[in-house]
Amino acid sequence: MLVIKCPVCGVEGEEGDFHAGGQAHIVRPASSDPENISDTQQRDYLFMRHNPKGLHFERWRCDRGCGKWFHAARDTVTLEFKGYYAINELPPVELMKQAKGYWAGHFASAIKSSKRSKS
């Protein structure tokens, strides 16, 4: 059973109180450049999902609470939630640094730019 806490209204519940919205941070390529989308890009957008054994980043909705969408970082082996952040944000830098595999690649530029803004 999952124990989930909504970062918007603060209620805590299990998966029945929330709605799983799948992988987070998927960018629709056709939104920025609709004329030059390759079949591979469109496939990646629609079907290729990060499916890590470990830290994963997802969208969830507070179904029986405030009804808002939010982001969460969750371990797919221990089923433990590692952090929550707003629906329009990238994960906190320390969580992005823990990401492995395809997620690490996904966040590489964001981690780099966060370093630059600090220095």
Partner: protein, 416 residues
């Protein structure tokens, strides 16, 4: 390897069953193979068996992280049917179902195929129409399937609640008389014994740690028992496909989620067919031991833990109590979860990959057991000839880029 027969049974009975041979060797890994299959579940072992039997490839190994048949092969609800909607699906599932018919004779191992009939309930007008469409598609493809009415449903399954006042009344059912169940462990064990007899090495407790690729070609694998050279690697690891394929740098269009099942305490025979109630999300049959075998829908989130959500099970059981009121007082004996790999169109992937010599068979999602013989048969052919078997061809991974989906998400037995 001695053959199992009434005579061997009698002979061993006289010796108090002390002298039965092991069904397969505990093989040592060699340093080089013609092909390596990762994953000793039903699909992997069937692939090895047909590679040895049909294609004379016997210098092969099946490596397994845990124990043989310990993943989804040992965790499913053993339902066998082939009444899918799309032509490509019908071809592969019916190949599998027809191979199940004489699998026990082929393997000389009792896989207990029991064609007791599978009924898929129609509980809304829309479902009735959708199944009528599937029925037409199936009859065109030559499957022995038909629509039956409420009276026939009640005759075949007297314990069903056929009250017109039910929340979802029974309007009829889609019936495949030659569908049924099998003994899941025996399928894995039978294929293991058959493959082993032909010289295939089955190595358990051996985890793959890396896939070596040079110039776009597979050269070998790294395992917890050392490195092995090989030109062909076939990945058949269900829920762990993404993890294993990432070792070769291949990204997969699958997500791993938990699917649960449970059995009740054993009772006297009450149901002699398989009933799938899709609208309410549950399916049930009775095992030879008397346990009611119950399954439902998969969880909604990615999971590698083999522990699922209680809410999903509760949903399934609630639905089945409504459908079969007599089971309301039964206690649960065991419940468990397995990690299934779901594709976007809910059809499997049987494919070559961009890495030469790397093959993948995955994405069976919630319907892997029924397809084991067919999947192994066409995958073995694909590996041996380095080109997709005609039945496997539509299931290539490139279909997702080409928009050539085999959409079974609405035709499958339970909405996913």
């Amino acid at each position: 390897m001695s053959r199992y027969s009434i005579f061997s049974l009698a002979r061993n009975a006289l010796n108090y069953h002390k002298d039965w041979e092991r069904a397969w060797r505990s093989a040592e890994l060699k340093s080089e193979y013609d092909a390596i299959i990762v994953g000793a579940g039903g699909h992997g072992l069937a692939t090895a068996y047909y590679l040895a039997k049909e294609h004379n490839m016997t210098n092969i190994a099946v490596i397994e992280k845990g124990w043989l048949g310990g993943g989804n092969t040992g965790r499913n609800t053993t339902i066998i049917r082939s009444n899918y909607l799309q032509d490509s699906s019908i071809a592969i599932y019916e190949l599998a179902r027809s191979l199940y018919e004489d699998l026990s004779q082929d393997l000389n191992y009792n896989t207990m195929f029991s064609p007791r009939g599978v009924m898929m309930m129609c509980q809304t007008e829309h479902e009735l129409r959708a199944f009528q469409r599937t029925a037409h598609a199936n009859r065109l493809a030559g499957l022995d399937c038909r629509m039956i009415d409420r009276t026939e449903v009640k005759r075949l399954c007297p314990i069903i609640n056929d009250s017109p006042d039910a929340r979802y009344p029974i309007l009829g059912a889609y019936y495949q008389p030659r569908g049924g169940t099998g003994r899941h462990d025996a399928v894995a064990w039978g294929y293991a014994r058959g493959a082993d007899e032909r010289g295939v090495d089955i190595v358990q407790n051996c985890e793959v740690l890396g896939i070596n690729v040079e110039n776009g070609k597979v050269t070998g694998i790294e395992t917890s028992k050392g490195s092995i050279k090989t030109g062909k690697v076939a990945v058949v690891t269900a829920g762990h496909t993404s993890v294993v394929m990432e070792m070769a740098g291949v990204r997969m269009p699958v997500e791993s989620v938990c699917l649960q099942a449970l059995v009740s305490e054993p009772i006297k025979p009450v149901i002699d067919c398989v009933v799938m109630a899709n609208t309410v999300h549950g399916y049930m049959s009775q095992s030879d031991k008397g346990e009611l075998v119950i399954g439902g829908g998969a969880d909604a989130y990615n999971n590698y833990s083999q522990r699922g959500a209680f809410a999903s099970l509760e949903h399934t059981v609630t639905a089945l109590v409504e459908t079969f009121p007599i089971i309301s007082r039964l206690r649960t004996l065991r419940l468990w979860g397995g990690i299934v790999d779901m594709t976007g169109d809910r059809s499997p992937i049987i494919s070559k990959t961009e890495v030469q010599g790397l093959y993948v068979n995955c994405g069976w999602g919630t319907g892997g057991f029924k397809s084991i013989p067919g999947s192994g048969f066409v995958f073995a052919d694909t590996i041996a000839n380095d080109r997709p078997h005609p039945i496997a061809e539509p299931f290539g991974m490139n279909r997702f880029a080409e928009g050539r989906f085999i959409d079974e998400s609405v035709a499958a037995a339970v909405a996913h």
